[in-house]
C-alpha cells in the first residue's frame, strides 16, 4: 500500500513536471521581451560606442592583458569566462566588431532572422561581458540571461520582420524545411514554454538570494536600508531624501522590499497573489530606475517580470489574433506534410487551431 502510494506520488510529480515544462505556449510574451531585450542590448552597446576605447582594447580602463589575467589564472584559479576580445587590439577591428555586434542586436530587436541573430546576440554579449570585467553590474547579468533564454524560443515569430517575411515567402516556407525553421510561425510551442519557464525560475532564484542576502544585513532589519540607498550621492538621480522625514514610511518600504524578495518565489505562482507581486516588482524597479540612477537595470528587471504575463492576455490586449493570422498561412503545424521543422520546435503534439479557441487563460497566468 505504501509502495503504491509512493508510485502514485512519483507519477504525479512526473506529470506535474511535464505539464510545467512541456505544455505548448504561445510566443507573444517572449516576442515583446525580445524587442525590449534587443533594444536594451543595442542601447548598452551604443553607450559603449560613445567611448569604446575606454572599455575595449589595449588602452582601456581595464586593458586587454589585465582582463585576460583576471580570468586566466594569473591572480586566482582560471575560469571559463573567456573572450576573444582580450586579443583584439586594433581600433579598426574593435570598431568593426562592435558595429557588427550592434547590428546583430538591432536585428534581434526587430526580429530579423531571429533564429540566427538570437544566438549571435547572446554570444556577442557574452564576449563583451567577459571582456568588460570590472565595469559590469546587474543590468549585464539580467540582459544576458534574457538573451540566452529568448534565443531558445521562436521569439521572432510574431511582432517581427520574420513574421512579415513568412507571409511574403509563404510558398518557400511550405516547401523548404530550412526556410520554415528560419521563419517559424507563432503557434504554441514547447520551446516557448521552456524559455518562459527558465526565465521565471531564474527570476525566482535571483529574488530569493537577493532577499536572503538582505536578510543577513542589519539595516534591512532596523528599517534604515532604504534611507541609506536614497542618501547615496553616487546613485541618486532624483532626490528621495525627503523620505527621511517619514521614518515610518521608509522603514515600512524597507521591510516590504525584503519580504517581497524572499517570498517572490512562492507568491508569484498563485493566481491570487501574482498580480500583487508583479505590481510590487514594477514599483520597486521603477523606483530604482527613477531615483537610484539605474534606469536600464530597473527597466530590464520589469521586462524580465513580463515572463509571468500570459501570452494570451497580451494578444488580447493588443487586439489581434496573431495565431489565426499565422495559421492562415497554411497552418504548418497541422499539415501532415508540413516542411516546418515541427519536430524540432514542438517536441509534443501541437494543439490545433480549434483547440486554441478555448477561453483565454487568466491574466498573468504562468
Amino acid at each position: 500500500m505504501i509502495a503504491q502510494a509512493i508510485r502514485n506520488w512519483g507519477g504525479e510529480v512526473v506529470d506535474a513536471w511535464d505539464r510545467f515544462w512541456f505544455t505548448p505556449r504561445r510566443p507573444h510574451t517572449l516576442a515583446l521581451m525580445r524587442i525590449a531585450t534587443g533594444m536594451m542590448l543595442l542601447y548598452s552597446q551604443a553607450v559603449l560606442a560613445l567611448r569604446l576605447s575606454d572599455f575595449l582594447g589595449d588602452s582601456a580602463w581595464i586593458n586587454n592583458s589585465t582582463a585576460a589575467a583576471l580570468h586566466g589564472g594569473a591572480f586566482s584559479p582560471p575560469d571559463a569566462a573567456r573572450s576573444y576580445l582580450w586579443h583584439l587590439s586594433s581600433p579598426a577591428a574593435i570598431w568593426a566588431h562592435h558595429l557588427l555586434t550592434m547590428a546583430v542586436s538591432a536585428c534581434f530587436a526587430l526580429g530579423l532572422l531571429t533564429r540566427l541573430t538570437g544566438p549571435l546576440a547572446w554570444f556577442f554579449q557574452l564576449m563583451l561581458v567577459h571582456r568588460m570585467t570590472g565595469t559590469l553590474f546587474g543590468l549585464d547579468q539580467i540582459v544576458t540571461m534574457l538573451a540566452m533564454y529568448l534565443m531558445l524560443a521562436p521569439s521572432g515569430s510574431i511582432f517581427s520582420i520574420d513574421s512579415v517575411l513568412r507571409r511574403r515567402y509563404r510558398s518557400a516556407v511550405q516547401s523548404n524545411r530550412f526556410v520554415a525553421w528560419l521563419l517559424p510561425d507563432a503557434a504554441p510551442s514547447v520551446a516557448a514554454n521552456v524559455a518562459t519557464r527558465l526565465v521565471q525560475v531564474h527570476l525566482c532564484v535571483v529574488y530569493l538570494f537577493g532577499g536572503l542576502w538582505k536578510a543577513r544585513g542589519t539595516t534591512w532589519w532596523d528599517g534604515t536600508a532604504l534611507w541609506f540607498a536614497a542618501a547615496n550621492y553616487e546613485y541618486q538621480s532624483l532626490n528621495l531624501t525627503w523620505l527621511g522625514r517619514f521614518p515610518v514610511v521608509f522603514s515600512a518600504l524597507t521591510h516590504l522590499t525584503v519580504f517581497w524578495e524572499v517570498f517572490y518565489c512562492a507568491l508569484v505562482w498563485p493566481k491570487l497573489t501574482r498580480p500583487v507581486v508583479l505590481a510590487i516588482a514594477v514599483a520597486v524597479h521603477g523606483g530604482i530606475a527613477l531615483f537610484l540612477g539605474m534606469v536600464t537595470f530597473g527597466t530590464i528587471m520589469i521586462v524580465a517580470n513580463m515572463a509571468f504575463i500570459s501570452p494570451d492576455w497580451i494578444a488580447e490586449l493588443l487586439g489581434i489574433n496573431c495565431w489565426r493570422r499565422s495559421a492562415d498561412l497554411g497552418s504548418d503545424s497541422e499539415r501532415s506534410d508540413a516542411p516546418l521543422a515541427a519536430a524540432a520546435v514542438h517536441s509534443r503534439p501541437v494543439p490545433t487551431a480549434g483547440s486554441l479557441r478555448q477561453p483565454v487563460q487568466t491574466h498573468f497566468q504562468g
Binding site: 581595464i62 586566482s76 569566462a81 547579468q141 542576502w213 539595516t219 540607498a229 521614518p247 540612477g293 536600464t296
Partner: protein, 231 residues
C-alpha cells in the same frame, strides 16, 4: 536532463556565494557547484545576486592627481556626472571605481601566520598583484589622456549621511566630512587623510586586511561578483 543541468548551474553559484564565510565557501556548496562551474562561468550565470546587500554601504571613488608637464596640478574624480553621460556610461565608471576597491589588497609582507603557509602566502602576493594590475591599468588609461603627466590614483570612500546628520545637522550628501581617503597601506582603511573627519562609516567599513589566509584566494575569486551586482 538539459533543463536540470541548467537549473543546477543557475542555483549552484548563488548557493556557494551565500555560504561564504571567513574560511571561504561551504565545502559542500563548492562540491555541489563543481560539475557545472565551467558552464556557469562561460554562460555568465555565476552571480550571487546580492543587490544592495547585506547593507547599502558607502560608495568608493577613484581620485586621480595629475601633474602636467607644466607642473599644473589637477584632480579628477571618478565617477563624474559632469563628464560621463548618459547615466549608463556614468554607472560603468562607478562600477570601475567600486571594482578597484573590491580588488584592493594591502602591500607589504603578510602577518607571520600567513607567511608560514605557502599556499596562503602565494594567495597574499597574487591578491596584491591583482590589485596593482588593475590600478596600473586604470592609471595607464589616464596617461593616454594626459601624456607626459605624473599621475597618482587613490581610493576614496564616500558614505551616506545618517539620518540625524541629515535632518538635525542638515549635512548635504556631498559634504566633505563624508569622504575619506583609503590609503594604500596595511592599515590604510583606518580613518585618515586630509578629507576625512572623525566620522564613522555606517555600516562600518572593513578595517583590516583579511584575517583568514585560507579564505583569501577564494575571496578574490568572488570579488567579481561583488563588483558586478547592481548595488
Amino acid at each position: 536532463m538539459l533543463i536540470i543541468g541548467h537549473l543546477w548551474a543557475v542555483v549552484s553559484r548563488p548557493i556557494e556565494f551565500a555560504t561564504l564565510g571567513p574560511f571561504g565557501a561551504s565545502p559542500s556548496a563548492t562540491w555541489f557547484r563543481a560539475p557545472v562551474r565551467g558552464y556557469s562561468q562561460f554562460a555568465y550565470l555565476d552571480h550571487g545576486y546580492a543587490f544592495f546587500a547585506p547593507d547599502p554601504g558607502p560608495s568608493h571613488l577613484i581620485e586621480a592627481d595629475i601633474v602636467g608637464p607644466d607642473q599644473q596640478r589637477t584632480t579628477r574624480r571618478y565617477p563624474d556626472r559632469t563628464d560621463q553621460s548618459p547615466r549608463l556610461l556614468y554607472h560603468r565608471h562607478f562600477m570601475l571605481s567600486e571594482f578597484l576597491n573590491d580588488v584592493y589588497h594591502p602591500p607589504g609582507e603578510p602577518p607571520r601566520e600567513i607567511a608560514e603557509d605557502p599556499s596562503a602566502l602565494r594567495g597574499w602576493h597574487q591578491s596584491r598583484r591583482r590589485y596593482e594590475s588593475v590600478r596600473d591599468s586604470i592609471r595607464n588609461r589616464l596617461e593616454t589622456h594626459h601624456p607626459d603627466s605624473q599621475i597618482t590614483i587613490q581610493r576614496l570612500q564616500h558614505r551616506p549621511p545618517g539620518l540625524p546628520e541629515f535632518i538635525d545637522q542638515q549635512m548635504p550628501l556631498d559634504d566633505p566630512r563624508l569622504y575619506r581617503i583609503l590609503h594604500d597601506s596595511i592599515d590604510g582603511e583606518l580613518p585618515g587623510g586630509e578629507l576625512s573627519g572623525a566620522v564613522q562609516t555606517i555600516p562600518p567599513a572593513p578595517l583590516a586586511p583579511l584575517q583568514f589566509p585560507q579564505a583569501d584566494q577564494r575571496r578574490m575569486q568572488i570579488q567579481n561578483d561583488r563588483s558586478e551586482v547592481a548595488r
